[in-house]
Symmetry: C2
């Protein structure tokens, strides 16, 4: 029994939105398909009509962020030096962490997301490719620690309540400035 495409898209979006809210409140592990269904006032079966598994819902939540990461990689691939690729990757990371602030808070560092990545070669490749842009071809221990610190720091800033008073635009500009200064020392 086929549904019209628009309705299906709408229903999928509603599941993704409800899942994101629950992930933010209870973590990915603490959220079940049943809870997502209950929040939408529908049955578990109707959620399963849209998504095969909870993993598929997590991937749909993460998709806008993953798409941005792939876009950054395509742009960076055209640049001639590691330094230039790294700068584009860092700047792009700040943009996407602010643009997808809630999604970034939910998925960055989440053990479920990490596990999921290990089971999805295409996703693993995307994340490893992005890490490669940051770490560079030689990837000294200093570079690895510095870039891991900046990555965790950028995501962490989007989640820190002490920065709630700063608008997205102001935080983006400040992060760009601070990260540029930091990265120039590595």
């Amino acid at each position: 029994m086929a549904k019209p495409v628009a309705a299906r898209g709408f229903a999928r979006d509603r599941v993704v939105d409800a899942a994101l809210e629950l992930f933010a409140q209870r973590g990915i592990r603490g959220t079940s398909i049943q809870m997502i269904a209950a929040r939408l006032g529908v049955t578990k079966a109707s959620v399963y009509y849209q998504f095969q598994s909870k993993d598929d819902i997590v991937l749909a939540v993460a998709k806008p962020l993953i798409d941005d990461i792939r876009h950054i990689q395509r742009v960076a691939a055209m640049l001639p030096s590691h330094q230039a690729r790294r700068d584009v990757a860092l700047s792009g990371l700040i943009d996407l962490a602010i643009r997808h602030r809630q999604v970034a808070n939910v998925i960055y560092g989440d053990p479920c997301m990490r596990q999921l990545m290990n089971n999805r070669p295409a996703l693993r490749e995307t994340i490893d490719g992005f890490t490669g842009l940051l770490f560079g071809p030689e990837s000294t221990e200093t570079e690895v620690v510095a870039m891991t610190l900046l990555t965790a720091g950028i995501y962490g800033c989007t989640a820190d309540v002490r920065l709630d008073g700063i608008s997205d635009d102001a935080l983006r500009a400040k992060l760009q400035e601070v990260v540029r200064r930091f990265a120039s020392t590595v």
Copy 2:
């Protein structure tokens, strides 16, 4: 019915250790007193004999880290300039994040911990005092963003699986070097 002090101390430590393991696996919110009791093979009542509430267990888990933060504050208070106090605070933060790696991973940024802090004025004061050491008396937006990034980045490095191959000593030394370089630009 008083128990000998040693036994009580031992039982408390076992609860704290079991709670830390469960917090690491399931998050603080995802862990109940019942789960802690089950892991120890005891009744909920015997856990409640040691701790009045789950909040008290969380505080006991966080205690070594909080004690270190208070120690850093005492040392920093003796220094004459903001710059010097900030450097001691950053350096001390790296030391404690590595020393209490698992505890740091569990409590940093956890929404339960944040809520708990708001209900415990002494704890709130400790964290705010430490933040004050980092941000400085003027606390420009740049300083606030830079120090929030470094704090999140330091804690994030202790949790990142990509750094699992680096020993605690090597990671501590690298973080000290990188953070010193970064902080000198702010």
